[in-house]
């Protein structure tokens, strides 16, 4: 029986497993840290829950703090164009700005009314200025940015220049941008304002890479009421599934959810009997973009690139250089095949410089299971 995945990409507050430690760390950065650095990049591999964490912060903090949500992909025009003036969907931006202005009024009466006669850039500047110079907000206002990876570099640059950069025009704002490692901030204001404190970044990174049986167990406990309310799962079977998952080494939120969804949707499929093809489908779903309508086309990973990737994960050690690659795998470095894997965040810098790379955490372990 073929399996159609439940919509696992859309944020679902019931299914979300809170991660209090990382929330506290981010809150600490937003309120006291930062100094003259106003931008925090939340960097993690595909499927590890960046968007969900932002959504959670939005709902948790939005009650007390002025928080603006930016989904970059919604600002991109449907028109396929290279003309910068036409890349943005001005109607979508107007709707967003109207909402932002209305929301802002709840926190301070001085925020401007939406004015259709002003350019959106000026409107944003007015909001930024008002928050810093005329309002006495109890907490620093915050911008949460999602969808940075879902648009092309050119589109990300136009949105960064015209919508995001004005928010770092004054010290009183903070911004959190969820992105993959390879999608760096190019706009110079964002880049110059980006947090670079290694200790802070390492702490956030380690807190974000969730591991352990507790997380898997809670994820599954929340999964059934969130997606399959009408399914009754025998508690004993549930314990077996959760136990089996906690033994796996990947501990990757999306992969866990996908495989559990597959097992739950098709009662004839026990986790232990998942085929290699099913695991591959899961892997491909993990690296696909959230929505097929996202402005950036879904990355196509060729079968040959996929085979190379599996070989790297299984044989090349945790991190590797081009030279290691050639020596250990006996293959000439396939630069062209690997390029889309870098592009989609599957292969990332190993973090210790000198051109060492690794398969993204979680995905590497999953690929190793695939080989087994």
């Amino acid at each position: 029986m073929s399996y159609t995945p439940t919509n696992l990409f859309e944020y679902n507050s019931t299914a979300f497993v809170p991660r209090p430690a990382i929330n506290a760390e981010i809150q600490c950065w937003v309120d006291s840290g930062g100094g003259d650095k106003q931008v925090l990049s939340l960097i993690a591999p595909p499927g590890s829950g960046k968007t969900w964490l932002l959504n959670y912060l939005m709902s948790a903090w939005g009650k007390q703090r002025f928080v603006i949500w930016v989904d970059i992909s919604t600002f991109i025009s449907k028109k396929d164009t290279i003309i910068k003036e036409e890349m943005l969907d001005l109607d979508a931006i107007s709707i967003w700005l109207k909402r932002v202005c209305a929301e802002a009024k709840k926190y301070c009466k001085h925020f401007p009314e939406y004015d259709a006669n002003l350019t959106f850039g000026r409107m944003i500047e007015l909001i930024v200025e008002t928050a810093c110079q005329r309002c006495e907000l109890a907490y620093l206002p915050l911008v949460l940015v999602d969808g940075y990876d879902d648009v092309s570099e050119e589109q990300a640059l136009v949105v960064s220049d015209r919508i995001l950069a004005p928010f770092v025009g004054d010290d009183c704002w903070r911004m959190i941008i969820a992105r993959r490692e390879e999608r760096r901030l190019i706009n110079f204001k964002l880049r110059n304002s980006e947090e670079t404190d290694k200790e802070v970044l390492a702490k956030i990174k380690s807190l974000f890479s969730v591991t352990g049986a507790d997380f898997v167990y809670e994820q599954f406990q929340r999964f059934i009421p969130a997606y399959h309310k009408n399914i009754t799962v025998d508690k004993r079977i549930f314990e077996i599934w959760a136990g089996a998952f906690s033994q796996y080494t990947w501990n990757h939120p999306f992969i866990n959810a996908y495989l559990f969804d597959q097992a739950t949707s098709n009662s004839s499929t026990a986790l232990s009997t998942l085929t290699c093809a099913q695991l591959m489908d899961c892997f491909k779903a993990t690296i696909q973009r959230r929505s097929p309508e996202a402005p950036k086309p879904i990355e196509k990973i060729s079968d040959s690139a996929f085979d190379i990737l599996r070989k790297i994960a299984c044989e090349a050690g945790e991190s590797w250089t081009e030279l290691d690659f050639e020596e250990q795998l006996g293959l000439k470095y396939p630069r062209k095949e690997l390029e889309p894997l870098f592009e989609s965040g599957i292969i990332v810098p190993a973090g210790n410089g000198y051109s060492r790379y690794k398969v993204a955490d979680g995905l590497r372990e999953f690929l190793r299971e695939l080989c087994a």
Partner: protein, 391 residues
């Protein structure tokens, strides 16, 4: 061949094409990639006090930033200017270049005339860049002072105004900002062509009712008044270009000396200087400042640019990353144990310009390789050192 190679390793442009800030800033039409390469150097003042980017911009003092040629003085100046123009702090960034077009020391009055023109051009650009009719309604007074600045800015500003009025917005990241290059200014952000801007520019081209015959420092005062009226709270004057090749340290000192006489008076008007100077002139400057009675109570703040190996290494990585590559150095292209990045950083001897030139030379050696040798080798390194273009 070089570009083909760079493309093949995932770079979308050549980030080592030139190691000179002025050339990098002027080599493209849009917002310069220079800003995405930028890495704030270590700036230290007396007592090893570290000067952050923010302090460099916000300290209400006159700062003297010293560095060797190639240490990144001009890059720091360009980035400081870009930050002033994009932060909502209402700081007018004025670039005052004392370049090779000046053949003899200037008198105080001549400095005034040149500075007034620099203020006029920068004020005009930054008014347009930050123009917000909701915040700053256009009234006759504002128009009148801006018209005077347009007139003072001369033919270049008037031509720029016509260019904006007569053409569509350019297809560039900077929008109207792409036109700033016509007056020698780097675009730093997107500037829309709004009806309000068009209306303002049309008014600026109308003939002024008042005729005035001001000169020198009176024109500076007029510029400062115009800046205040347009909402600028303070002015940073960035002095650069003093160390042109033909100028001796003594000539540099003589060129700057009249300007120092004005420091105290201008500081009282919220005008602060940032002098970007060669290290060799540090002592002469200090002598001049001691010599002038008026400057005896003046608090002199020298700042030194220092590049450590770790920062140079990050600079190299940043260049690769900014060009869209996942490669973070040349080690990946070199034979095992050559440690080429380490060699490059060491040979750069604390100079970012030297580092970039060495990398560029090495790439040239590499791309002219025999086809059967696919990696940078030890002989390549020696060959590059023997034939390097930068000493």
């Amino acid at each position: 061949m070089r570009l083909t190679f760079l493309n093949s390793i995932g770079l979308n442009h050549d980030p080592f094409a030139t190691p000179v800030a002025e050339q990098e800033a002027s080599s493209v039409d849009d917002i310069p990639t220079l800003y995405s390469y930028y890495l704030h150097p270590k700036l230290t003042s007396i007592g090893d006090l570290i000067i952050t980017e923010k302090a460099l911009r916000q300290m209400e003092k006159n700062l003297f930033i010293y560095g060797e040629p190639g240490d990144g003085k001009t890059t720091s100046r360009l980035v400081l200017e870009a930050e002033c123009r994009t932060q909502i702090e209402k700081t007018l960034a004025v670039t005052y270049l004392l370049g090779e077009d000046i053949e003899r020391p200037l008198t105080l009055e001549e400095h005034g005339a040149r500075l007034a023109k620099a203020i006029a051009i920068d004020l005009f650009i930054q008014v347009i860049e930050q123009f917000n009719p909701a915040d700053q309604p256009v009234n006759n007074k504002r128009i009148e002072v801006l018209k005077k600045q347009v007139a003072l800015g001369g033919r270049h500003i008037q031509r720029l105004t016509r260019l904006i009025l007569d053409n569509n917005i350019p297809n560039a990241r900077a929008g109207l900002g792409a036109y700033w290059r016509n007056v020698g200014i780097c675009p730093v952000q997107y500037v829309p062509k709004t009806d309000a801007i068009v209306e303002l520019l049309q008014k600026c081209l109308e003939k002024s009712r008042e005729k005035e015959h001001l000169t020198g420092w009176d024109l500076v005062a007029q510029g400062l008044y115009a800046a205040r009226l347009w909402g600028f709270k303070r002015i940073l004057v960035m002095v650069d270009g003093v160390d042109t090749r033909q100028r001796t340290p003594k000539a540099m000192g003589q060129l700057l000396e009249p300007l120092f006489e004005k420091l105290a008076g201008l500081t009282a008007q919220d005008v602060y200087f940032r002098f970007f100077l060669p290290l060799e002139i540090k002592k002469p400057v200090e002598r001049i400042l001691r010599k002038h009675k008026r400057l005896q109570n003046y608090k002199y703040i020298p700042i030194m640019i220092k590049w450590q190996e770790d920062s140079l290494r990050r600079l190299l990585v940043q260049r690769f990353f900014a060009a869209g590559s996942h490669i973070d150095g040349l080690d990946v292209l070199a034979e095992r144990n050559l440690n080429i990045d380490e060699k490059l950083v060491s040979a750069a001897n604390g100079s970012p310009r030297r580092l970039l030139q060495l990398v560029s030379d090495l790439i040239d050696v590499y791309v002219t390789h025999k086809p059967d040798e696919t990696r940078i080798t030890a002989p390549d390194w020696r060959n590059m050192l023997e034939n390097r273009t930068y000493d």
